[in-house]
């Protein structure tokens, strides 16, 4: 059942590096992370790779497999042919620490800039009540495992470091949308903040983020587009807004 797979792995650090070729045994049912671990255990003990749960739940093992942003632990080896060379490289949008490990601080800095949930003044902890339907509405966004594959993919910042200061990225947009939908959040201006301070306007809804999300969150359709529409709704005359909406529908 097992076979020898051709693996090409990027090795290096913040000063540079290169792709190295390896041949590694693969067994039935294994994922890319298993094979990377076998490579580490048998041929490259100092190969740096970040991982934790091996179950698609912690978001640590993000990398690019054959150029596609993926969780290594959720990428099955049998999705490749036995002859195919599987190339594993670190996330391109963030600075490399070593080998497959990148410094994802950018995302935490953006998270810090995000105004936190604002408790309603009239309620004490323990008195919060939410209707089930409101809980469910934002539940999708709470599935985020912070793998940052969406942030890595988004062309606004991929290969465009100069955009990073002004752009928080899709992961933060779903957080903004979640709080915007939260019936108890006292902050009224989530959309406006996203538009003015988080760079929502730089997003041109290409949906690349949605495509790579391992949790299947409809980042663009359910978070970004509704927020964009409602920002427009608030900013401009309702009739113009209605017109733009009808136009968009017709064109879609």
């Amino acid at each position: 059942m097992g076979y020898d797979a051709k693996l090409r792995v990027w090795r290096g650090d913040d000063e540079g590096g290169e792709l190295k070729d390896f041949t590694v045994e693969v067994n039935e049912g294994e994922v890319v992370l298993d094979v990377i671990h076998r490579l580490q255990a048998t041929q490259a003990p100092d190969l740096a790779v970040r991982w934790n749960c091996k179950a698609g739940k912690c978001g640590s093992c993000s990398a690019e497999v054959n150029g596609r942003p993926r969780l290594m632990c959720m990428t099955r080896m049998n999705t490749f042919t036995e002859q195919e060379t599987v190339t594993v490289t670190p996330l391109r949008t963030f600075p490399v620490v070593r080998d497959l490990v990148t410094d994802v601080s950018f995302n935490y800095e953006k998270a810090l800039e995000m105004p936190a949930f604002q408790p309603p003044a009239e309620l004490k902890p323990g008195e919060y009540r939410m209707a089930q339907v409101d809980v469910e509405r934002s539940q999708e966004f709470r599935k985020c495992i912070e793998c940052f594959l969406c942030q890595n993919t988004c062309h606004v910042v991929r290969d465009h470091d100069e955009n990073k200061p002004a752009f928080s990225g899709p992961r933060m947009f779903i957080r903004a949308a979640e709080l915007d939908m939260h019936p108890l959040d006292a902050a009224e201006n989530r959309k406006e903040f996203a538009q003015e301070s988080q760079g929502l306007g730089m997003c041109n809804i290409t949906k690349c983020c949605t495509e790579v999300c391992p949790e299947g969150i409809h980042i663009t359709d359910n978070a970004i587009i509704p927020m964009k529409e409602r920002v427009v709704d608030r900013k401009y005359d309702p009739l113009v807004w209605l017109g733009s909406k009808i136009f968009k529908r017709a064109g879609a």
Binding site: Q40, A41, L47, M74, V97, R98
Partner: protein
Amino acid sequence: MARAINSEIKAGRGSPHGGIFLDIASRRTPEYIRKRLPSMYHQFKELADVDITAEPMEIGPTCHYVMGGVEVDPDSAAARGSIEGLFAAGEVSGGMHGSNRLGGNSLSDLLVFGRRRAGVGAAEYATKIGERPKVAQSDVDEAVTEALAPFTRDSGENPFALQAELQQNMNDLVGLIRTADELEQAIKRLQELAARVHNAAATGGRAYNPSWHLALDLRNMLLVSECAAKAALMRQESRGGHTRDDFPKMDPVWRKVNLICKLDESGVQVVKQDIPEIPTRLLDLFEIDELHKYMTDEELTRHRDGGSLSDTTAASEGGAVNGVRRETARLARRRRGW
């Protein structure tokens, strides 16, 4: 459940990959399964191409939680022993969950003891000591030398191979079902591994180097393994997560002791330590029939219905299973899970 799975496999009724089949598809609707077990559904689908709403899944027991850990003072979470200023909370601390943690109780443990005990306790300690303790330079030098030692062992062993061996040893001999024979074998093998672990080598540089980290961590893994094996050998009963094939019954006398592991030159020493008596007011919260399984007759004389020694014996022999006890068992079953 884990024990039942194990005995099925042993009896030759296991699944092709050495587990058993769990079938929820025949018991719940696909909508229910997808809604209530979203992660399980997703993982089986993505990783094994198995649709658990339509077919059975292959499962097997695995290590989930460590009940033992650093012995702490229950009120301050300060570690007992010779290291002052060390606080522990969460899975690394021992004793909180007895012999078997119930599902969901780790989260509450972390929240309560993380803040109230270890967090606040450590903060109070730090404010009280006034002057910051000074670290002796010689201690720092020694620690640095020790930390860097794996880089100097040119002919040392591969730490990943050592870890795999250690893991296999613990899985085979200190696993779900234990016997004195196997535990003794395990301890012997651990001693052999110890010498090799002290010769674990790291290659490469000091930045994010897993072989180096593992070479250092192995020493601790070995120590924890030795504690688990030696304590399991000493505890001649079965209780919670600890099953001794050669002592299959739970023994109320053993409930009264904790096993404390200490390190000296010759390795890990295990000593028995009495656990504090349960206050009578807590004992009285239970019906006496619920307690016979867990407590000695002598202890039960302190119970509100305890009476004299002979009375309680009679009650336990009567084997009365009352409604309360059934209810407790039912609740316990419901709460199990992760």
